[in-house]
Symmetry: C2
């Protein structure tokens, strides 16, 4: 039975895709069977793992519409890491789902048919709290919240936590907040430090100890279709993501 994690935050550009990809890669490296589901019509996860545009269907859109896991999942060049890719078609699902019975549980039902094949499943969400993100959260045991050390990110956090409480109350009582992950931290920058201190003060139990630094190697990796862990294992970004994976494992064991 896989542990299912969503990477969610309606604020854009905070590191959801980058974090999901590198956590998944780090866990596959220690022999866990991992699936990443690209639930963002932008398809950045699929690009970052080297899946060409022409090889993305069937993927998440078809899976939501009832196609099997075997048809929609493909291997990546990373052993033990599988990908469910997506393309822009998925954007249509947000509108098509609106008038369907049980629209929030489509992904949960579909993932139940494949969850025993994996130890971990990571779902990369788009920057919104629409039906795709909602499906991901209803299907998940944990939600991970990547956050930039910026003011707008801080502002959006309280709205996100309120939305999660509503989802826990009405649609998925098992959903737990797996943690807040600070990304693109720049120690030379006062604002970064202020946001870090503020979050540590207000959410001491929820924030991960590991902070991901801003590191240009992380942003170079996607153009080579590789996670930074494979592109440059020795850089500060990679070391931080390995620490984060270790911390996730030490927290993650369900009670």
């Amino acid at each position: 039975m896989a542990q299912i994690y969503s990477l969610a935050n309606q604020k854009g550009g905070v590191g959801k895709t980058t974090t999901a990809m590198n956590l998944a890669t780090a866990l596959a490296a220690i022999k866990k069977h991992v699936l990443v589901v690209d639930a963002d019509p932008q398809g950045n996860m699929s690009t970052g793992l080297g899946c060409l545009r022409k090889n993305r269907a069937p993927g998440t859109y078809e899976f939501l519409a009832g196609a099997s896991g075997a048809e929609c999942i493909q291997a990546t060049h990373i052993p033990l890491l599988d990908l469910m890719p997506t393309n822009e078609e998925l954007a249509g699902a947000e509108i098509e789902l609106v008038s369907i019975q049980g629209r929030e549980i489509k992904l949960k039902e579909a993932l139940a048919t494949i969850s025993d094949k994996y130890d971990f499943i990571f779902i990369d969400c788009p920057p919104s709290l629409g039906l795709l993100t909602l499906n991901a959260l209803v299907a998940s045991h944990f939600v991970l919240i990547p956050m930039q050390c910026e003011f707008y990110s801080l502002e959006g956090l309280s709205h996100l936590l309120r939305s999660l409480e509503r989802i826990q109350g009405q649609l998925n009582p098992d959903l737990a907040v797996g943690g807040i992950i600070l990304t693109m931290y720049d120690r030379r920058n006062k604002l970064s430090h202020r946001v870090l201190t503020e979050i540590r003060e207000h959410f001491p139990k929820v924030i991960f100890e590991t902070v991901i630094p801003r590191n240009v190697r992380v942003s170079e990796a996607p153009s080579f279709g590789k996670p930074v862990l494979l592109y440059d294992i020795g850089c500060s970004g990679s070391r931080a993501y390995m620490d984060l994976a270790r911390e996730l494992l030490s927290r993650g064991a369900p009670e």
Copy 2:
């Protein structure tokens, strides 16, 4: 008759809000009457212009539902710059609009009732191509595309331009691409330079000459409820936004 600009890009965190706010402020400083419409449920534009959470209704949500401009628009502490604020309620509009007749032209119709009061209207869009962004694009004469100098941003551009062509073909033949604006440029970083060169090569007529540098003063300004132009007029971010406003005016005169 106002010139209406949308700031759109489905990629998150590329500088849509920051660019809309500072262009609007620069134009108000040279005595243009300007309105910014916050069409992103995150409400970052409203925050960045110092509008408190409790003072955001009626705003964009009510305006789309038929309330008057007078009710939904408020002055800011910047002379000649007005704001139509928003809060999370607006997220509901995306779902409510789906089943309404003429769902794509609601904002266009509403803005027509107030457009003669302004020289410029800027609409800040959420990081998606859903019904809120669609409404903004159908209501606009120009679309401005802020883009980070990063690989995922480059990737999303071709999808965005294809979507704009479809909108020009079916819903708004008057919509012109006002330009691509490169943001958060870091001259020490090879990737930034590669993306800049690539865009200048592929879209020579569309890209703005002015490039906005990464500048920490820009990201500090929102926590004071001010655009960077007011927070620190002398910093590199402010100077670049003033250059951009001048370039917009020299380009902007409709043929």
